[in-house]
Point group: C2
Chain length 200, copies 2
């Protein structure tokens, strides 16, 4: 008895790389680092395992590419920051963050919590960059387009709050979206009014 095996097909390198990457994104979004083997990715992609190493190098390199995709925010969702007073702008950026996270919550939260591989320098660097992007957005929204190091660090801390709050909402299901919005808005306003001035 022979299993049906798809005939060997040649693809353009870009197409093949993209195909493997999309499969890997799906698998790493469902399970964690340790529970996804390169054999799994290869089988799901209908490809020999060695081909993954050929295109991505190490399994960790593949994972880096995956979380880079997961953490990439679709550019059209940024930039729509309205004018208005501070309270209004803070509410807008909080809404933006909640939208981004909740839209592709599964993969986003999986990636931001390093889905089983935080501690690795390269992985942490990719996550740090994503946090920087979010922190910059927050700072721009509240009127600090060119902050110093301390303010930037505080904005990063705030993103940490936003992430942990989103986890309570999306994974544990114990907060509602209005509650999340209220918490993040109030704390953001406090940071801008009470904490930032003492650190500039």
């Amino acid at each position: 008895m022979r299993v049906d095996v798809a005939p060997r097909r040649r693809l353009e390198p870009d197409a093949r790389r993209e195909q493997i990457l999309s499969v890997a994104v799906r698998l790493f979004g469902e399970r964690g680092w340790a529970d996804v083997s390169t054999t799994d990715v290869a089988r799901a992609a209908g490809v020999a395992r060695g081909l993954i190493n050929h295109y991505f190098g190490t399994k960790k390199d593949l994972y880096l590419a995956v979380i880079r995709v997961m953490l990439t925010v679709p550019p059209d969702t940024i930039g729509r920051l309205p004018d208005g007073d501070l309270t209004f702008r803070a509410a807008a950026i909080v809404d933006w963050f909640i939208d981004v996270v909740s839209q592709h919550s599964r993969s986003w939260l999986a990636a931001i919590s390093a889905g089983g591989m935080s501690g690795d320098p390269d992985v942490d660097r990719v996550i740090d960059e994503a946090i920087d992007v979010a922190a910059d957005s927050v700072l721009v929204a509240v009127g600090y387009p060119a902050p110093d190091a301390a303010l930037h660090a505080m904005a990063r801390s705030y993103v940490g709050l936003a992430c942990s709050t989103a986890r309570e909402w999306l994974e544990r299901g114990v907060l509602t979206r209005p509650q999340v919005h209220n918490l993040l808005s109030a704390t953001l306003l406090t940071m801008v009014r009470k904490v930032f001035p003492a650190a500039g």
Copy 2:
């Protein structure tokens, strides 16, 4: 040429278990889950690898014991919560948290970020319990000894903010302790005054 090998010594099970555990705590505190093999632990403990499985079962079981140790707060540091008005008590609990984290910062931050294995249900459960302990302490300090689920979740979110802020301070070195204290105090007061009432 023969390498010097220590003679085989028999230890009491508790002593041997403790010895292996302390070695594992050190190694997992320095490096992450993937970078520490049971062979490393065995060699550092001067012991056969099989003995680790005998005492702890799986490598993951050993890791669970390790992070349990890392996240255990020395009991004498709790309970000393002074009376006073809300501002005073909030400052006290923030100081307590900063002390706990900064004292054994390396292992604590390594464990709370799951040093390379978040996503695993058992590991996450241990971390969740540690967050619960910290959240309960915060809630008691600010006068909510028996909160409902939403308030508890918000306190957990706040612990997430505290952790991310501590990381900016201890690992990235870009915030000072007074800045950390100011940020955590102000946001905690805001949560108690503005966010908690809307969710009770």
